[in-house]
């Protein structure tokens, strides 16, 4: 653990699980003041500050990957823990996400141009009849930041749209979101459609959304469940790892 930023050190104290403390603190091991300032500004939702600091870092010769991993994603890891543990709620996550987007504006063009092989392709959508997208959008942002190509089908996504997208993009993972208890059953309907299309064996399916639980995901026939955006990234990485 090598914190040179007092505010960030205080934020890190919200991380109490031993394994997570180790994993997250390793991201700050270099003790780089600028990266820690970026992470702290992201956690506190200072989007103008994040944009300015990211631009500064790139100008000073930090690579886009360094800024992404040691600044933005490292900061977002603490945001994810605080959200999961009910220390912060969606508004606070949204301002952190806004700050991350402000930083990504400078990073994405460099990463796209670098031609790095993506970890995999994921189809994401909110299921039919459901127009909520905050959770899904947070997941997409984190998945893209972690190296996945994500095809966003948006909201109110019909089962055949998921089926068509898997085929068209040769995707390995499908992620579905629902916010309403009334639309959650459409996750099961979509999984059935993927089965009927003969694609079920080719892909892994993960579910998420405020009222969705791990047992519901299992009942619907999914392969995994994510309680938040950080867990969605963990599931996707596990799927890719298991497929190697």
């Amino acid at each position: 653990m090598n914190f040179v930023h007092d505010g960030l050190a205080a934020e890190f104290e919200h991380v109490t699980r031993e394994g997570e403390r180790k994993h997250i603190s390793e991201q700050f091991d270099s003790g780089d003041a600028l990266m820690q300032e970026i992470a702290y500004s992201l956690i506190t939702g200072s989007h103008f500050e994040v944009a300015r600091l990211v631009e500064q870092a790139l100008g000073e010769g930090y690579t886009a990957n360094d800024v992404l991993d040691d600044g933005l994603i490292a900061g977002m890891s603490i945001v994810g823990v605080k959200f999961r543990d009910n220390i912060i709620f969606v508004p606070e996550v949204l301002i952190a996400a806004r700050a991350m987007k402000a930083g990504m504006v400078h990073i994405e063009p460099i990463l796209s141009a670098s031609g790095v092989e993506p970890l995999g392709t994921i189809i994401m959508g909110t299921v039919k009849g459901d127009l909520h997208d905050i959770g899904k959008n947070l997941c997409i942002m984190m998945l893209r930041g972690s190296g996945f190509v994500v095809i966003d089908l948006g909201v109110d996504t019909k089962p055949d749209e998921f089926v068509d997208a898997v085929t068209e993009h040769n995707a390995q993972i499908v992620g579905m979101s629902a916010l309403l208890t009334t639309t959650m059953p459409n996750m099961g309907v979509t999984i059935e459609a993927l089965e009927e299309a003969g694609l079920r064996e080719e892909i892994k399916i993960m579910l998420g959304g405020a009222p969705v639980t791990a047992s519901f995901a299992e009942d619907m026939g999914a392969d995994g469940y994510g309680d938040n955006a950080i867990e969605a990234v963990d599931r996707a990485k596990e799927f890719v790892e298991a497929n190697k």
């Binding site: 969606v90 127009l131 909201v155 639309t183 959650m184 009942d219």
Partner: protein
């Protein structure tokens, strides 16, 4: 054998909401129990049943006539006012809920909020008001007619968009309060119109849910407004908030609302302990897993759990999935009957 009933459904519900004795615990549906099967049974399908008072009343009354619930709740969804105010709508089909396209909100600033003079005359508001008149005339004091008016927080999601509104709550708390105070006038207008038309009770959904915002948020932004609603809406009010709400139940219990309709994510015994008799509780049978996916036995288990905890009105936790099986819904009053006999 059924329990000997000495009260009408209306008396039972009104007593339970007032914390008075009842002959048996009432079954309520303060949000909605319309299903595809019930739509087919009476020829009143979605989306038309949301927009036509006669179809609406015909579908709504099945909650009482077919399911044996103690209330009739004709406002099935959460979108009538927002449609009347000009939100872009997706009316959907029989097996899907109408919804507001919140990604295309109509207002950005509190000053944009404009309640047209003929707001109550809009057909989508008249569908509910007219339906309540029909139901009241038909059922009189036999069964409790439950109206519904959206709270300012829910209206803000529809009218400003969820994400812009939640960002506003951090970027400008003053602006947020201004918006909520302006929006609450919509809640009062529509709620009073339904009471004038014959509603005995008003459900007040205001989705400051634990999945989105903290209990402190509820205290800061909504508690006083909800207390004000008790003064301004002359009927018992059932507040409805989905998701985890234990962290705000103490605040809710201080508002003076008659009852709180709570989600299955909250343990009923714990919830009862927090509210401590200051407010009645309505709930909290799980929808997606129990009522939708499982069978009558699992439903019965959850009904017993709520009854054992002392929950005053038994109900599904929220609007139920439209493909929910009727046998599962019928199991709720049957389980209450058996529990009551066993505890006589």
């Amino acid at each position: 054998m059924t329990v000997e009933e000495t009260m009408t459904s209306r008396e039972r519900v009104m007593n339970a909401l007032a914390g008075k004795p009842v002959d048996r615990t009432p079954v309520a549906n303060p949000t909605n129990v319309a299903t595809v099967d019930l739509m087919d049974m009476v020829g009143a399908p979605f989306p038309d049943a949301n927009r036509d008072p006669v179809l609406n009343a015909r579908l709504a009354e099945t909650g009482y006539t077919e399911l044996g619930f103690d209330v009739i709740a004709p406002y099935f969804s959460i979108i009538q006012e927002s449609s009347a105010l000009g939100c872009e709508m997706q009316w959907e089909q029989k097996d899907n809920w109408p919804t507001v396209r919140m990604t295309n909100p109509i207002w950005k600033e509190p000053e944009d909020i404009n309640i047209p003079d003929d707001f109550l005359e809009h057909p989508d508001n008249q569908a509910i008001i007219g339906s309540i008149r029909i139901l009241k005339e038909k059922y009189g004091d036999e069964v409790a007619i439950v109206g519904k008016t959206m709270g300012p927080w829910t209206l803000a999601y529809h009218l400003f968009g969820v994400e812009p509104f939640l960002l506003m709550t951090i970027d400008s708390p003053e602006k947020t309060m201004d918006a909520l105070h302006r929006l609450k006038e919509i809640s009062v207008l529509f709620g009073r119109a339904q009471i004038d038309a014959g509603a005995d009770v008003i459900t007040f959904p205001d989705h400051a849910t634990g999945d989105l915002v903290s209990g402190e948020y509820y205290h800061r932004y909504l508690q006083d407004i909800h207390s004000e609603m008790v003064e301004r809406l002359p009927a018992p009010i059932i507040l409805h908030i989905c998701g985890k709400t234990l962290d705000r139940m103490d605040y809710i219990a201080q508002t003076g609302m008659a009852a709180f309709h709570f989600d299955s994510m909250n343990d009923p015994a714990e919830a009862m302990e927090i509210v401590d008799g200051r407010i009645s509780l309505v709930g909290n049978i799980n929808n997606p897993v129990t009522l939708y996916s499982k069978g009558p036995e699992a439903v019965r288990e959850e009904v017993y759990r709520a009854l054992d905890a002392g929950v005053q009105l038994i109900a599904p936790e929220c609007a139920i999935p439209l493909r929910t099986k009727l046998e599962n819904l019928l199991e709720i009053p049957a389980a209450i009957n058996d529990w009551t006999k066993a505890h006589a």
